[in-house]
Symmetry: C2
Subunit: 465 residues, 2 copies
């Protein structure tokens, strides 16, 4: 079996168009700090009419292949995670096949994985399992997470965002899975879902969703610790991992989550809990599970106690989620990309725990072990290629009015046919794909800015254009 299977390389893309949360607060007439401190968010990226989950994923996969100089013929599998459904039958993966068909490579397994923000993690596990299975043929896999998170006007709207991430999967990876260390919690619940098929917006029960998230985290952590203890013969605690990466719908929930893990350690009487923590959390030890999720005092005390550890083990993961917003399936991996950006080669030898959550609900806590790796598949090169600082710096701020106007246009366009876009790609970087047209048969057409080729130039017998 292939060894140290995991992530060899990464690329991230987010729209260059964004709005400041502070400006949005003022525009919405919300109290000052409601979005910036209450949610813990700085900015929100969004797709204009020329971008969508397909254009973003075309961009990020093309960029991944180019920047790491991977021949498209070397790809044997491509898995996509997304909850932004543009077509209920045709997968986003089939759109990405345009990149590979040009090179005559159509023997590429994998389709779309769907369950809210967890689809990307499902896609990642599936791709890693493929490399470890007897059906692996020695080629690389690619995992794509792509989503555009938009909400109806109201309190949830500032928790939007948009991005696409591509990950190259193979053996001997600098970012390797510790597959035996994994705990999942999956359950039937209506916390966030999209049953109104004619609308892009979800139905959200924010309070329930937050409780579900924390309950799932507790349960996954319990299973995770149990598996660790069985395998290693000693107790697991927060001190046994160097960094913690959380699915981040908004940063405040990440702060609460890490505090909740510390509370778990306290309740499990972990050796890592010092006397001060014991004293401060003591009053909450008799709470029932339900009470503990509702207690604001516990929330406050555990966040206070965990603050120094949070700054060391979580804060380096929060950059992109705070600057771009909720990216659904890409959110967890954008947080991980932030860690690579902030610490890159300093991560060699470290263990990183990731918590993936998708409403509905599906959740897994899993472990990665990092090594510096060989160029081009090294931690430092991945950080260089992703160029997070450069990408954040070259964005274009929109005033809230223009953001709201864009959302209105997108509502109108959602599920529509027979229109052409403005084709205005002036704000996009060279190499970015953009939507030009949806014809009367709902077929979508894309072009590539400054590219010598478009994605739509194939002409075989099975070409439906």
């Amino acid at each position: 079996m292939a060894k140290n299977v995991g992530i060899l390389a990464m690329e991230i893309y987010f729209p260059p168009t964004f709005v400041q949360q502070e400006a949005l607060e003022a525009h919405d007439g919300a109290s000052k700090g409601k979005y910036t401190i209450g949610l813990g968010q700085d900015c929100l990226a969004f797709c204009t009419e020329v971008e969508d989950v397909i254009s973003m994923s075309l961009t990020v996969v093309t960029s991944l292949l180019e920047k790491y100089q991977i021949d498209p013929k070397q790809i044997g599998r491509l898995d996509v995670g997304s909850e932004t459904v543009i077509d209920k039958s045709k997968s986003i993966k089939t759109f990405l096949m345009q990149i590979f068909e040009k090179c005559g490579n159509t023997d590429i397994e994998g389709v779309d994985s769907t369950n809210a923000c967890y689809g990307g993690t499902a896609a990642l596990f599936n791709c890693v399992n493929w490399v470890e299975s007897s059906s692996w043929d020695g080629r690389y896999g690619i995992v794509v997470c792509t989503d555009s998170a938009v909400y109806a006007e109201g309190p949830a709207r500032p928790t939007g965002g948009a991005a696409a991430i591509a990950m190259l999967i193979g053996p001997d990876a600098p970012i390797a899975f510790e597959s035996k260390l994994r705990g999942s919690h999956m359950s039937h619940v209506y916390d966030f879902y999209k049953p109104n098929l004619a609308s892009e917006y979800p139905v959200v029960d924010g309070k329930l969703s937050q409780t579900c998230y924390l309950f799932a985290l507790d349960t996954c952590y319990k299973y995770f610790c149990h598996k660790y203890e069985k395998l290693e013969g000693k107790q697991f605690s927060l001190s046994d991992a160097d960094y913690f990466v959380f699915h981040s719908p908004y940063n405040k929930l990440v702060q609460k989550s890490f505090a909740r893990l510390l509370f778990n350690d306290f309740m499990r009487n972990a050796s890592s809990i010092d006397d001060i923590a014991k004293e401060k959390l003591g009053p909450f030890s008799s709470l029932t599970g339900d009470e503990s999720y509702q207690s604001r005092d516990l929330e406050k005390a555990s966040q206070q106690v965990s603050k120094p550890l949070y700054d060391a083990k979580v804060q380096p993961t929060t950059l992109i989620p705070k600057q771009v917003g909720n990216m659904y399936t890409a959110s967890l991996y954008a947080a991980f990309a932030s860690l690579l950006h902030n610490k890159n080669s300093g991560l060699a030898g470290k263990r990183v725990l990731l918590f993936s959550y998708g409403s509905g609900l599906t959740a897994t806590l899993f472990s990665l072990r990092l090594h510096e790796g060989q160029h081009p598949f090294s931690l430092s090169n991945i950080a260089t290629v992703m160029d997070v600082a450069g990408k954040l710096k070259s964005r274009h701020e929109f005033p809230p009015e223009k953001f709201v106007e864009t959302m209105k246009l997108m509502e109108h366009r959602y599920g529509a046919n027979d229109f052409v876009t403005s084709k205005d790609c002036s704000l996009l970087s060279p190499g970015t794909y953009y939507l030009t047209e949806v014809d009367s048969k709902y077929r979508r057409f894309y072009a590539k800015k400054d590219g010598k080729c478009t994605a739509c130039e194939n002409g075989s017998v099975v070409n439906g254009h």
Copy 2:
């Protein structure tokens, strides 16, 4: 690595309500034989207002566990393939978690896989790979294929159908994968898709879809033969497999597909092609690929030549698809179930090739090797448990008028909220789940006929009811 991983057990469910294709022909004013001979179909099963893809999958998974006496705690993974999107974010898999939550088992990986009729095959591959991977924890996996295929009034309507299939996955299986023998073809094409999100009906280009299907079959067969030849050091031909199972939107396409494979063998100068076949197919050897897909004469000649082989190697797979109709993701596995029903223990030692096709498009030709196996996981017991003959016999025929009326009601209900169904389960067998209500928040509620428990009785903190 686990050995001989594959299908240990199977169960199939299809609605008891059906219409005769012959009656539908007359009702539609179509020429006699258009559906029965032209499409090669006998009957079409459909969901009434009390059934959907979720109720069918709840029924089939519950039945699988009961009939093979599998403790729900023994399940470590559950993958669902479907293209019948009821919610764009929440997976069907999370609905099925209700069965396992009752037993305290929520540590079950897997979500929904989506690409038209191929989603079930993607789910199956993912589950098999999991058992072969380092993240396997020794428990069983379950794969569910569930779909309701409905079409707008017009020529495509008689190609509908509905069913759900559940498969238990693990090592030492009577139905084992030959994972090294596999050829895929994936490509960006608009042959059948569902971009009109407010409608349950697809956009279909029937002629293009048929060409795509046959082109994908040719390409997969080419890759498959190439891999076989590399591995075995000898040419592959139709004589090297005992049975051929095809995704079956309608039986006529299955007939054409097998004939096409024989034409492939002829063009590759396979040793299995006799002189008579050579003579009959000779005139077509100079056709270009495109011409060969359009030639009615070639179609006729190759079907004629392949008829005896078709009767032996394909006909035993066609029972359920002809009687139930197109079941999308379940279609291929219903064809395979037909083979188990017809040949059961006679299949020990045989090689079966399966061709999975999903529009958009994704396709794989793969190989299974069958062994009798140990009870309850034996070929003969699987055939007994599925009781295909009993299920077909106990169905209720609807006149076309009532079928059309049901389709109208379902159109009205699609994507709707705040309604209760008739709760009329008089036609359903005991143990069948059925839809009772969709509330104002679009939450769906199900009950089980004659069951002591319903699927909706959990009451934890994360329960959104």
